[in-house]
Amino acid sequence: MLIPFFRILKTGFADFWRNKWVSQATLGVMIITFFVIVSFFMLSGVMGGLIDNLKSRMDISVYFKIDTDENDILKIKEELGKLTQITKIDYTSRDQALESFKQRHQNDPLILQSLEEIGANPLTASLNIQAKNPATDFPFINQYLDKNYIALIDKVNYQENKEIISRISNFSSGTKKAGIVLSLVLVTIVILVTFNTIRLTIYSVREEIGIMRLVGANNAYIRGPFIIEGIIYGILATIISTLICWVIFKLLSTKLSPMLLDFNVYQYFTHHLWVIIGIQLAVGMVLGVLGSYIAIRRYLKI
């Protein structure tokens, strides 16, 4: 049992090495397939990261009446902090608001002069709130504030931003779904292209398969080396495409980061490296082994 197995293993490696032209062509197609798969994996990660980033920048601001006591505001902040929907809540006092306003308009003497003429601080204290799921959580928070603290609140800017928040949420979920469908379609296409390349590879050696049958080789002995070759394709393609992706993402990461709202592509890649390698190996084994097995069947009927 072991002797035929080692012979088949040796033959598989030898055939892969000797049939260089065909091996390189098949390997090339497989590397491209894996590169496409990894690219779509990364794209979905980037899109997810961008969308999460956008969501995290969505917030609502609660402006309190000018005579509201700071302690009351801090109590409200504490109460709101207990809500599970809220991820972050920042308090800006009236003085902080004034400082911030002066800094923003430091190059506008007219505004600064108007502020001086008013004399007192016209700005109010506020709470800035971020939630896990803006589309559903903000309406809830708005209702909660309305119900419990309407007497102290001057304005909540949720209604003004409601449409944008809703659009961003719809865009993110739509993008995710479209991304999944597009990925599946394109990955299926490249997998089919690779499968056909393997079939063509085996077609090109159909005569050899016939010769082996006529000399007395059984199906296992004929099929074995092709399956070994399929495994070699899968492993080599995984290694090469991973290396290519590693180099590309490392080089492009610093350039892409500002465009992607500080999303670090290289970090995402290295963080998910084992998943990426696992997916490629799984696809490679299915393509290489199953592809070879199915493709060779029709030539074993002599």
Partner: protein, 225 residues
Amino acid sequence: MIIFEKVSKIYNHCSALEDISIRVNPREFVSIVGRSGAGKSTLVKLLIGEEYPTSGHIFVDRIDIAKIKPKLLPFYRRKIGIVFQDFKLLSFRTAFENIAFAMEVANLPHQKIKDDTLKILRIIGLENRQNNFPDQLSGGEKQRVAIGRALALKPEILIADEPTGNLDPIHTWDIINLLVKINELGTTVVLASHDKEIINSLGKRVVSLDKGRVIRDEKEGRFIV
């Protein structure tokens, strides 16, 4: 012992062989002759199990080969040696590996394969060319490798289907002489050929086919067109 018993083969309403009955005894040298299209290659294909007869029986050592299941055919083919007109060598294997392949599929031990292959290479005179691939060999050398492969498992029967069809006259006689020598050593040889000169010089049994039928079967026959 090979027995064809009222064997017919029909392809798409066209009769390639009709009512063939031939008996080949052990250690005999039999030439199957006829013009192109007479049915020689069809007869060889039936004998090696590449095709099944439409009717009749073919017995090789009392086994009806038409009844051998496809997955068991490789075991039958290891018992016979086959040589083809187009050599049918594995292009990505050396001369040594082509001969060794026949023994590898029979699961022989590594050392025995190595020793026997070297012996066969010496017999066919290609010891110095053992590491060459088929495309680096001449036609005559390729056919000698093919014969070497056919003999690897020491078969009792050697079937040669137009083995000199692609060779020049010098190599043709080399191959024929080799086949005669193999027969003298005890192997039954069935040679299918349309080369009149070779057949007439052998002085062996000749079975003549014409339009799929046996028209002549002579002990010291000649190829009469």
